[in-house]
Amino acid sequence: MSEGQHYHGSGTAEEARTSYGLMAEFSTPSALVEAARQAHKAGYRRMDGYSPFPIEELQEALGFRATRLPLLVLMGGLLGGTLGYTLAYWVSAVAYPLNIGGRPLHSTPAFVPVTFEMTILFAALSAVIGMIVLNGLPMLYHPVFNVERFRTASRDKFFLVIEASDPKFDPSATREFLATLGAHEVDNIAN
């Protein structure tokens, strides 16, 4: 199929029912960011950009809100630290009190390393598990993988996907719109 056919082929009713959305391909990060800005300006909201490396401007262009991840990590760290200190205190002063050179059973300085390590451990686990879960991973199947050329999203190409669930989405009008943004190719994503 030539590029021309892609641009001018209007969506059928069948396509609209089974489509996840439309995928436009770009070859530079600048083109993708610019396209995302235009799409946001045109009123599209349910869309996502795909790139082989993180692009900070893209997140702004797509209009994302800040992530809750840092708060999660803070809570994980506080939980870990509390658990670490409580464990050390409870073991040393309550469950198994030992007189070590006449030092107090509640020997705060000696509990600091364990408290610290537990803080780091829990915060790091929260950061990684939080990132994976908030991202909805692991998700081995996703409609975007149905597009053959999407393999290059992990190599050197940049994609903008406008989802069919967007209220403003229309198979043919959106396709026309994406073509005006300078996309090399616009593909329908089978659901």
Binding site: P52, I55, T67, L87, E117, A123, L125
Partner: protein, 469 residues
């Protein structure tokens, strides 16, 4: 990652114009970077050099298995340890290995926070090195306890014996520090690998490769939303790993410093152990990077700039370590404490004088060659100095552990320590295990972070004039 925000963006691209300071050779694109790095993993034919190298490393690993099996059958008596030197090779090697690991965390976390974009092509490799070094380090205390199958007694868990670990002991702090360090290093490494695993999934030709890389990539698709959380998580991990790496060798130094033994009981230990750890770690990174870079033709990605920067870090941390040695001597004299002074004299003129002399030669004198640009910019001399430093840092731990223990307060309890064949077999065996794991890593995973290399290219910058007006 450091290369696409604010001031960090300008530097790599300007630096590219000068071949002497380039962090990546000119002429590369997203596609060539991806193809060249992933080709090492995805090629069907395993290079002969790899088979040979892995074969040797595997053979040495078998020696480790033999030594460990014999140890489990006969007990720690097969080693040269006894009273007064109860901490022999096991603890020397533990501290040596864990110290080597520290460079990986330093490169991946601290240099990320400091926006040193040259870290990008060596961080993945250094993180793998950390992981394998921590694995080797962890073996030694487990074997040293004598009955490794009861090692879980060190963990705090409710048990029918009604006993709990002693939280005032640095040995228990060590259990927490090293397990946390191992876990966080693994997380950091895996999170860094995630986007590259997706690249391998998309580029693998064999069905098996697609499935295995696909499962470990968790379905990563490079979504902007995902990248945003990913970067947040990665930066937070770096921020957490930075104090962690400092704490780990500090806690290791507590194992010594909290005791009352002359030569161990000093407050200078934590900072000087941390500096020594980074020193030895960078030496190991260079010892591994220089041959691999030559063999796989990675000079475009690991440039002279990287080797030069690592040499400078070694020089700086080496000077801190030398200052530590000097300070130990000064305090032994200035404190006017009889046993402390004897320990220092015994270290220099006692039966292990050769250990101290070799230590000063390998760890203090020879590394001063790194002041010269010609030494830093020549891979052969740099490799030789790095190798010497690795030996020197091992000798440092030998001097600290053995020489301090063998003559303490009572002359009647003095003794000598002689390592046996099994001591050496276990030590050399872990080097084999370390190298075997590294060979497997190089063959099956991208040793350079592909997605971070893409961000260093000039094309990665979003042009400002195309933005909002």
């Amino acid at each position: 990652m450091a290369g696409y925000e604010g001031a960090g963006r300008e530097s790599p691209h300007e630096a590219m114009r000068d071949p002497a300071t380039a962090v990546i050779a000119p002429g590369h694109t997203f596609a060539t970077v991806t193809d060249q790095i992933s080709a090492i993993v995805l090629t069907r034919r395993t290079p002969l050099g790899w088979i040979l190298g892995f074969g040797i490393a595997f053979f040495i690993t078998m020696l480790l298995l033999l030594a460990v099996t014999y140890l489990l059958v006969r007990g720690v008596g097969i080693w040269g340890i006894n009273i007064p030197v109860a901490w022999g090779f096991a603890i020397i090697n533990f501290v040596w290995w864990i110290g080597i690991g520290h460079a990986g965390t330093l490169i991946s976390a601290i240099l990320l926070l400091l926006r040193q974009e040259w870290r990008t092509s060596i961080n993945r490799f250094a993180e793998a090195m950390t992981l394998f070094a921590v694995a080797c380090a962890g073996l030694f205390p487990l074997l040293h306890v004598g009955r490794p199958w009861l090692a879980y007694w060190m963990l705090p868990y409710p048990n029918t014996m009604g006993v709990w670990p002693q939280f005032r002991s640095p040995l228990i702090m060590d259990v927490f520090a090293v397990t946390t360090y191992g876990t966080v290093s693994l997380l950091f490494w895996y999170v860094g690998l995630l986007p590259d695993l997706a690249t391998l999934r998309d580029r693998a030709r064999s069905a098996f490769g697609k499935v295995v890389y696909g499962i470990f990539a968790l379905g990563w698709r490079g979504s902007a939303r995902h990248w945003h959380r990913y970067e947040t998580a990665y930066l937070l991990l770096a921020g957490l790993a930075t104090p962690l790496v400092v704490s780990v060798h500090t806690v290791v130094s507590f194992d010594f410093a909290v005791s009352v033994l002359p030569g161990w009981h000093t407050t200078i230990f934590p900072p000087y152990f941390v500096a020594g750890a980074i020193y030895s770690g960078f030496a190991m990174v260079l010892c591994l990077t220089i041959p691999i870079r030559a063999y796989y033709g990675l000079g475009d990605f690991i440039t002279m700039r990287h080797l030069d920067a690592m040499a400078k870090v070694m020089l700086a941390t080496g000077l801190i370590v030398a200052y530590g040695y000097g300070m130990e001597g000064f305090i032994a004299w200035y404190a006017a404490e009889y046993y402390e002074r004897f320990m220092m004299l015994n270290r220099i003129t006692g039966p292990y004088w050769w250990g101290w002399a070799a230590l000063v030669l390998t760890n203090v004198l020879i590394p001063q060659a790194l002041w010269f640009r010609r030494v830093r910019r020549n891979v052969l001399t740099l490799f030789a100095v790095a190798l010497v430093i690795n030996v020197g840092m091992w000798l440092e731990r030998f001097v600290i552990v053995v020489v301090s223990l063998h003559r303490d307060f009572l002359v009647s309890s003095w003794g000598m320590y002689y390592p046996t064949f099994w001591d050496w077999a276990t030590f050399v065996g872990t080097i084999g295990l370390f190298l075997a794991l590294l060979f497997l890593f190089i063959r099956f995973l991208p040793m350079i972070s592909i997605f971070e290399m893409r961000t260093l290219l000039p094309d990665a910058a979003v042009k400002k004039e195309e933005g909002h007006h």
